[in-house]
Subunit: 322 residues, 2 copies
Amino acid sequence: MKESPLFWPAYLKGNVLFVLDETALPEKFYYIKVKNTNEAVKVIRDMKTRAFGQLLVVLNTFLLELNNVGAIHELPLQHKLEKIATTLNASRPTFPFAEVTGMVVGWGAQAMSKGEDIKATIERNIHGYLQAIRARRLDRVRRISEVIKDGQKVLTHCNVSGELAMAAQLCQEQNKRVSFYATETRPYFQGSKLTCWELKRAGADVTLVADNAVGSLLAKRMVDLVIVGSDRSCANGDIANKIGTYQIAVLAKEFEIPMYALTQPSNKIPTGKDIPIELRDADELLKSTGKSIAPKGTKGFYPGFDVVSHDLIKQPIAIDVR
Amino acid sequence: MKESPLFWPAYLKGNVLFVLDETALPEKFYYIKVKNTNEAVKVIRDMKTRAFGQLLVVLNTFLLELNNVGAIHELPLQHKLEKIATTLNASRPTFPFAEVTGMVVGWGAQAMSKGEDIKATIERNIHGYLQAIRARRLDRVRRISEVIKDGQKVLTHCNVSGELAMAAQLCQEQNKRVSFYATETRPYFQGSKLTCWELKRAGADVTLVADNAVGSLLAKRMVDLVIVGSDRSCANGDIANKIGTYQIAVLAKEFEIPMYALTQPSNKIPTGKDIPIELRDADELLKSTGKSIAPKGTKGFYPGFDVVSHDLIKQPIAIDVR
């Protein structure tokens, strides 16, 4: 099984962090070279990478900056780490980077208090942390492929960062004939631009549908199961995911089609009701591929994601990454 | 109440048929000048006008051509009518123009057999036919406005050709505070481009949402009722309408939100199962505002409309136009 570029969209090579520019897909497939914290903030702020990609950028930025450090500098190095953390945290006000950057700063503080090499400790811990995530995600890919049976048609929404494409590859290796439907996922077309791209790249059979064709597709039994990702998971099993996931879940229940969600279990949020829904700029909805599609001054309502109650999900395919 | 341009998108003035170019909205608001059958075929073939607009173009084309005729020409005139009908019928193979053009040719044949003035008969009948439609549609506008109560929020899909915008005006005149949500309606964005445009023009409060936000909108009780049009009506009350109508109907039922459909009752089609669903070119889905959004070679599934069972519709707001 080959890794999809969207599975691990940023990687360090020497003194350079290569970040996949997801906004250029599917027309152009290239990596942006990031060499320091300021360049990292720029790729995050410009949304060149999303979700897990942003976590990769944040953690690798510490490694990048540590590359330029020679010996143990004790307090000055720890101050440097704090400064990197503060700068990264400010890159996207609504994104919970502080949790991850705080963890790294904490590793530094602990190493310092024990008189250990701060740089070596942080490098070891970040590499270990990422390797653990990789192993768990690869295991989840295997479990996704087990859920999909021979001859089945899978509907997905938005993009699940490589895992579905890799599960599709595993199915092929197991001689299972599987096909996929991907929703466009307005307004950013992640389905058209990312999911179709990586599924095709993985040699899978994929068909694009508009977000408004899901009901017809399910009613006609053209889909056997639904697999979606999740941006947040709650203690009670509720999830939040890209806007549109909720109505797919309600429709899937209506037509008794099982829906699986890829989750990262968390006990920090009790239920879906405790997840604040980010209302994004209406302008993102009033334009398509950069061109205005609605009359000037039109109002738009664009919640970035919606919440799916746990009773609509047949089974969470979970990884415990944190 | 002022008529919305989309309510009556083509009109005759002297020897010229003015046809609203709906494909240019909302950026540009202008009419194409049509002077003969060939130019009429071009606006139909280029989809410059839709649905009822095409009926207007077809009927007015006969009036246009008759304008150039002096006296009663008996058989030659009747042959001319048949030639116009054949040319118009061929403009869109899947569109049932033959029914309407056949009616006009029939009027000519009848007048000829009675020794009446063919030209005068056809002109009188077409004007009468269109005036009857206008009166019935205006009555339907009034009935739509009665369905909407003070303070209510209405969700609509695609575009219902002026009637909803005019009902919104009537509500204002009756001092009812009403607001609207319009779905984008991928892939052609009729909601963004036409519905938002004419509702704003009518002074109504309208908010655009992506097709995938309907479930969230209904679950949050942000909508009190749904009003949609219909492309076809069946004897049992089933309708066919723009793709996406069906899933809105299923979601509306789930959240117990009444859904009204504007229909033209017909006994020709027994049930929704008897309506063939037009599968349109996938390319229409793979592009947005002219730009490719999916990787080359991606397959697309784009049924032009879907069927809504009568039990999902609270009440058809019907006009008997034929």
